[in-house]
């Protein structure tokens, strides 16, 4: 059976659009809400990224930090994140889920136990923000053996030599960080130059699916729709913050946003 992540890209390609990838933090601001959000937005989203909140995140911008803070205040534990995925997969078995977190969380669980939990709950992929290549080689191999996609990251600072090595060691999905920024920064480079870099990476191995993330909003998304996939994170976290501040159910606004995003890339 082909991996769900690859299938999601294939499906989007058949519809001649990029795959839409969402990111929210698990447990923001409670487990039930996260599950409801995932269920609801998954009608427009191809791949769901679920963040594991960490209290010393070094690459997250303000919006995701706020979400993580709320999740941790709400008492979220790593085991709850697995439970959320498991519950979700009971209803939407074929929608791929990627866990995103920091390496210390995996280390404290123990790499093997963490992966076993991933497998049991139905996790399809893993992104570890602070476990770059080549330090991630052994962990990425373990993922591969379990048919879990370890998503490698490439940044604007990544040299061509390094890019080639990373791509060679990647599975079917690669994450390209659009600019020098933490998550949710204002898009400070032109869509054209992001796409130029993207194509450079794509040329190295056209078979790999490359998603672009960081700084993507309802305004900028259409200009990047040539990519294999686009990740929306901070925008969604910000929307949750705003709804919670107004004591409204975040679902309503979130659904509106993902529908708009989807329309813009059709």
């Amino acid at each position: 059976m082909a991996a769900l992540i690859s299938l999601a890209f294939l499906k989007a390609k058949l519809e001649k659009r990029p795959a839409l990838v969402s990111y929210i933090v698990a447990g923001d601001n409670n487990k039930k809400l996260t599950l409801n959000i995932l269920k609801s937005i998954s009608q427009y989203i191809d791949i769901l990224e679920v963040g594991i909140a960490h209290n010393t995140a070094v690459a997250d911008g303000a919006q995701i930090q706020n979400s993580s803070y709320r999740a941790l205040q709400g008492g979220i534990k790593v085991k709850d994140v697995f439970e959320i995925v498991k519950q979700f997969k009971k209803i939407k078995k074929s929608k791929p889920i990627i866990l995103m977190g920091y390496y210390n969380q995996v280390l404290q669980y123990g790499e093997n136990y963490f992966l076993q939990k991933c497998k049991n709950s139905g996790v399809d992929g893993i992104i570890l923000v602070d476990l770059p290549f080549p330090e991630n080689k052994s962990f990425a191999d373990k993922c591969k053996k379990l048919s879990i996609t370890f998503v490698q990251l490439i940044a604007p600072t990544t040299s061509t030599v390094r890019m080639k090595q990373i791509i060679k060691n990647s599975q079917d999905m690669i994450y390209y960080i659009s600019m020098l920024s933490t998550t949710g920064g204002k898009l400070k480079v032109s869509a054209k130059s992001i796409l130029n870099n993207y194509l450079k990476i794509k040329k190295i191995d056209p078979k790999k699916n490359i998603v672009i993330g960081f700084g993507i909003t309802t305004k900028t998304i259409a200009s990047l729709k040539k990519a294999d996939g686009l990740v929306i994170g901070s925008l969604l976290c910000k929307s949750i913050s705003q709804s919670l501040a107004k004591k409204r159910n975040p679902l309503i606004q979130l659904n509106k946003i993902v529908r708009t995003l989807r329309n813009k890339i059709q």
Binding site: V58, Q108, V129, P132, A155, T157, L180
Partner: protein, 414 residues
């Protein structure tokens, strides 16, 4: 058991993944920072063997930092304790009042050599920030200092100094609002601005290159001490104990560096961590209390954390020691058993400050007061041919408010 190699600088005893003993340190950083870290690693590797650069460093250490700092005997304290002979290496003599100036000057020089005009850094007690702002001013660099709002409130004296030097303080109001959050925020800023900006990490923590640069800089302390010991005793004493407080661990590494190869029976290293308030479970002592190995700020180290890998809150009267992790180099020294680590509580540090400042013309800040607490504890049990040297790595002026509150005003006027 892990082993130290002789005849090789401790900062270079890592494997190809930059791990000491195969497990401490490394570069656990977002992809974006891989290249800037690699560039900095190459630049530093070149500079540290460049005679001109060494000359430049030594020139500024001498004329600007004020090297060498004094090495003095604490006669009254030694008499009072009736045991070992107690000395102090008065590193607080250095320009700015603490050892942080060595790292700051070297980073400012590297920043200039890298052709960058902006420099950023984190600070806890405010020393690292103050010194970086001084060095930035001296070398004409634009400077931003990241500092937790809790630390800003308790270390106002240093904040004023930072601003006076023309640097901007970026208040960090997330998490525990202390050093750990300041470092995170500083790293985030670097992720976004690494093309124009040089980052200085204020201690021997963070990705490997920052551990290296900092330890290489503070090594000046032990270079001076070695000469001063030989001047005083004609040789390195047969029974020598070097006591240093340990937060991130930059002054301790610098204080011990030149003595690594001596047998520990001759030159013992004692690191004193922050034990926190008496009768409280909170502290900042990952080594003493056997914290688990984890990853914090780009490096694997023993770090206070929960089962889920969330970094724990710490508590110490001393902002400079109030950090949940510790340098990978100290983890390495612990596991190789070259150094031993212990704690002093807030109360013990205050009592040590009181005794030292009453008996001697020396006013150690709350950080080295932790080290003095250990010296005071062990000296009476030791023979009088034992030599204890305490690194008095900071001046208490910055702690005036806290000390007055806890010990009263009269004492301060001494």
């Amino acid at each position: 058991m892990l082993k130290l190699q002789k005849g090789k600088a401790i900062i270079d005893q890592h494997d190809k993944h930059y791990l000491y003993g195969g497990k401490f340190g490394g570069n656990f950083v977002p992809e974006t920072l891989k290249k800037p870290i690699e560039d900095l690693t190459q630049l530093f590797q070149k500079l540290r063997y460049d005679k001109k650069f060494i000359k430049e460093r030594d020139y500024y250490f001498k004329t600007y930092v004020g090297s060498p700092t004094r090495f003095i005997k604490l006669y009254n304290l030694s008499l009072h304790l009736e045991g070992a002979q107690i000395y102090a290496k008065v590193v607080s003599d250095a320009n700015g009042g603490a050892h942080k100036i060595y790292n700051a000057v070297v980073h400012a020089l590297i920043c200039k050599h890298a052709g960058k005009k902006y420099i950023i850094g984190d600070t806890g007690a405010g020393y690292a920030g103050k010194m970086l702002s001084m060095a930035a001013k001296k070398f004409g660099l634009k400077c931003k200092i990241f500092m937790g709002t809790k630390d800003m409130a308790r270390q106002k004296v240093n904040c004023d100094a930072i601003r006076k030097n023309g640097a901007e303080i970026v208040p960090v109001d997330s998490g525990s609002k202390t050093l750990v959050d300041a470092v995170s925020e500083c790293m985030r800023y670097w992720v976004s601005n690494c093309d124009t900006t040089h980052m200085c990490v204020g201690s021997t923590v963070g990705p490997n290159i920052f551990v290296k640069i900092c330890a290489w800089s503070t090594a000046q302390i032990s270079r001076e001490l070695k000469v001063q010991l030989k001047e005083e005793f004609g040789e390195i004493p047969k029974k020598l104990k070097l006591i240093n407080c340990v937060g991130g661990g930059s002054s301790a590494i610098g204080f011990w560096n030149e003595f690594m190869d001596y047998d520990k029976k001759q030159v013992e290293f004692i690191g004193v961590e922050a034990g926190g308030p008496k009768n409280s479970k909170l502290h900042a002592a990952p080594l003493t209390y056997n914290a688990k190995l984890g990853v914090l700020h780009g490096a694997a180290q023993y770090v206070l954390q929960d089962k889920d890998g969330q970094i724990s809150e710490t508590s110490s009267i001393s902002a400079g020691l109030d950090y949940p992790g510790v340098s990978p180099l100290h983890c390495f020294l612990k596991d190789t058993k070259r150094a031993r680590y212990t704690v002093a509580t807030d109360e013990q540090a205050l009592a040590a400050f009181k005794l030292v400042s009453q008996l001697e013309n020396l006013r150690p800040s709350l950080e080295p007061s932790h080290a003095f607490a250990e010296a005071i504890k062990i000296a009476p049990k030791l023979s009088n041919d034992t030599v204890i040297v305490v690194d008095s790595c900071g001046d208490a002026l910055k702690d005036k408010k806290i000390i007055e509150k806890r010990l009263g005003k009269l004492l301060w006027q001494h």
